[in-house]
Amino acid sequence: MDCCGAKELKGHFLDEEVDLSLMDETLKKYKEVKGSLITILQYAQEIYGFLPMSVLEYISQETGIYSSQIYGVATFYTQFRLNPVGENLIMLCKGTACHVNGADGIEEAITEELGIKDGETTKDNVFTLNNVACLGCCSLSPVMMVNGETYGSLTPQKTKDILRELGKQTLEAKEGN
């Protein structure tokens, strides 16, 4: 795990106004169940899309778990994010089979198309790129998963086409509203 310097600590948190009461049901259910911190954080991320600082503090208040410990758990596991993500989350598989079959080229194609690198979000907030260890679809490598949908046997061009189509759909949906 990368170490996180104290100086950068504040920079990690992009705190937005969030409705803490959305957590109440989860906290009521789990705060007395020992060992459920990870489960609580998973629910929190599902609700807010990421883990805002104020929510972590709220969890600490309600459960009595030290906030340092909560931060420790939130930064240990790759699933947890301390910053919001774009509307489409691209999980690019960097597992062994994908690596052997050219996942680096796919990453370059994504960077070329969207101008973002691993962990970054596009300025218009439409895409976030996250590299992941393995999605378990090795026979279709290289693979990426966008919003839970898996796309296999990628080529740089195919990847760009998929992203263009998804970007278009996102824009259309916005205009539709």
Binding site: M1, L37, F76, T96, V132, A133, S141, T150
Partner: protein
């Protein structure tokens, strides 16, 4: 007529969902007269989407690579009794299944994983019934001992021994935990079992729980496997409703229930004590053993942890007897093992074969050989903890002992095939990059040692390797192994050591000659346009940095100072006029 569509994650990624939806639409809206079912992954991922059509006598015909646009036509033809062999599976591919021995994944890709009845039809829960009604705890453990079953998650520890240790503990409550945190990049057999035959896991866990005297079971499953979690959830509910889980199972007084805990993504949680820490809501960091989990595990109570594939073998062993299982395999490695065959292979997927089969036989006999008929270079076994086995010893057999001798491990069964275009130094760098990120940070040698090793490998692949780097890597490797508490650090240097052992010349070429023999490391290659260029301009138009110049119909040229070595020109040239050196 029954139509079964394979809906595992890999099938869905290949377009099986659309195939299913097209048929569903026909059945629901247009009244097509078929029974439509789903199933899990049969293991032939390279042929997905796969559709099995059963006629009224129960004869099955298998169709592969069926697209959503064509499925309705295909089924209509079958309904009209017309023969259509366009999508029928080839006899070669059928034979590839015939060469396997399926125990752990015997039902995967055959039954509907969301229907308990189909599992019951395949003798489901009979083994549990036999244990509860006819066997003592000791009988169960003896049967597992006779089978010779060893843990399929990586270390290969005898399963009966762990069960026996947990059984002998007086302290209650005890816990039965399934490690479904399949973190090895390149392995997906556990996902396939979870998605394709979830009841099998539940039955195996219940049998183990009975043997050790546990009443609570937990499945720790990767959050990256949403479909597996969904199907497990369905299976657990069904098992409870039908009395295979819960209080007083089958009227025998045995109580056992299972819950799912979604992991949050950390490779180190495959280690038992780290997994327990994670179950308790902590950072998943390993601790010193002893005490072993069998003595002090989850919340300090006796806990037994096995991997998914291990549990999936258990019901079969109880039904058919330990001796039947031990009849497969070698003297020390009994039974079968599921391998995930991926990488530069023609027919990638899951294969289950008896232990002791030569690697070559798996790659050529079942996997169909190397993609694009390139030259087979090596196979990586056991993921980031394992090692590379070069082609010249590919007659090594797959069993715990033989693999250990050549510097690899069985691991969870990932088998990544590499051809001549894969750079072995880059492979070592890739694995070190992985273990460095996944090191939990507790042991200094693992946390810093992997980082230093990675830095050395990075400079070698970028052409800045120094004399003595190989020796430095070797000595660091020994220290990281010695100075780490858990399996992650103890095995992290293996990919480096095994590539140095078999491909030292590649390391030397990178360091001394600044050349990458596989022509894969970007800093060490140049793209050049040869005289057979016809000046079509394709490369020039596609170059992202305008490094290519040339008039139409004349030989073009690459400015090496501008070239970023993206390889785009090489990809688009239709005349093979661009070479890499």
């Amino acid at each position: 007529m029954k139509v079964v569509v394979g809906l595992g994650s890999c099938g869905i990624a290949a377009g099986a969902r659309k195939v299913y939806e097209e048929l569903e639409n026909q059945v629901n809206k247009l009244g097509m007269d078929i029974d439509l079912e789903i199933t899990g992954c049969v293991g032939m991922c390279h042929l997905e989407p796969i559709v099995d059509i059963y006629d009224d006598e129960g004869r099955m015909e298998r169709f592969v690579k069926v697209s959503g646009d064509k499925i309705v036509e295909l089924v209509e033809k079958k309904l009209a009794n017309e023969d259509d062999s366009t999508y029928r599976i080839s006899s070669v591919d059928e034979e590839a299944i015939g060469k396997q021995v399926r125990i752990a994944i015997e039902n995967c890709g055959i039954i509907n994983p969301e229907r308990l009845e189909e599992y019951i039809e395949k003798d489901g829960y009979k083994a549990l019934e036999k244990c509860l009604k006819e066997m003592s705890q000791k009988d169960v453990i003896d049967e597992i001992r006779d089978s010779g079953l060893r843990g399929r998650g990586g270390a290969g520890f005898p399963t009966w021994f762990k069960w026996n240790a947990a059984m002998q503990e007086k302290n209650t409550p005890k816990f039965m935990v399934c490690n479904a945190d399949e973190g090895d990049p390149g392995a997906f057999m556990d996902r396939s079992i979870l998605e394709g035959d979830p009841h099998r896991l539940l039955e195996g866990m219940a049998i183990g729980a009975y043997a050790i005297g546990a009443e609570e079971g937990i499945i720790y499953v990767r959050a990256e496997y949403p479909l597996a979690i969904k199907r497990l959830d369905i299976a657990i509910k069904q098992a409870r409703e039908s009395g295979y889980l819960g209080k007083n199972i089958m009227g025998t007084g045995f109580n056992f229930d299972i819950r799912i805990k979604a992991g949050a993504g950390a490779f180190v949680c495959g280690e038992e004590t780290a997994l327990i820490a994670s179950l308790e809501g902590e950072r998943g960091m390993p601790r010193l053993k002893p005490p072993f989990p069998a003595q002090k595990g989850y919340w300090g109570q006796p806990t037994n942890i096995n991997n998914v594939e291990t549990f999936a073998n258990v019901p079969w062993i109880i039904r058919k007897g330990g001796d039947a299982f031990a009849a497969y395999g070698t003297a020390q490695s009994k039974g079968t093992k599921v391998f995930a065959l991926t990488g530069k292979i023609k027919k990638g997927g899951l294969v289950e074969v008896p232990m002791g089969m030569p690697i070559k036989e798996i790659i050529y006999g079942i996997g169909g050989g190397i993609l694009n008929d390139k030259e087979f270079k090596a196979v990586q076994m056991g993921g980031p903890s394992g090692g590379c086995i070069p082609a010249f010893i590919s007659d090594t057999t797959v069993d715990y002992e033989s693999l250990g001798k050549v510097g690899a491990i069985m691991g969870s069964g990932g088998m990544v095939v590499m051809d001549e275009s894969t750079c072995m130094v880059d492979m070592a760098r890739f694995f070190l990059d992985f273990t460095r990120k996944e090191s939990c940070g507790k042991c200094i040698h693992c946390r810093l040692g992997t980082k230093r090793m990675l830095e050395i490998l990075e400079r070698i692949v970028s052409g800045d390797g120094r004399e003595g780097d190989i020796e430095l890597l070797e000595s660091l490797a020994v220290e990281v192994k010695d100075g780490s508490l858990c399996g992650l650090g103890q095995t992290a240097p293996n990919p480096v050591l095994s590539t140095i052992r078999y491909f030292r010349n590649e390391y030397e070429a990178h360091i001394n000659e600044k050349k990458c023999p596989a022509k894969a490391c970007k800093s060490l290659i140049t793209y050049e346009i040869q005289d057979n260029c016809i000046g079509c301009g394709m490369c020039k138009r596609n170059c992202p940095v305008e490094a290519i110049t040339g008039e139409p119909k004349l030989i073009h040229e690459i400015d090496q100072d501008i070239c970023i070595k993206c390889g785009k020109c090489y990809e688009v040239c239709k005349f093979d006029a661009i070479t890499i050196s």
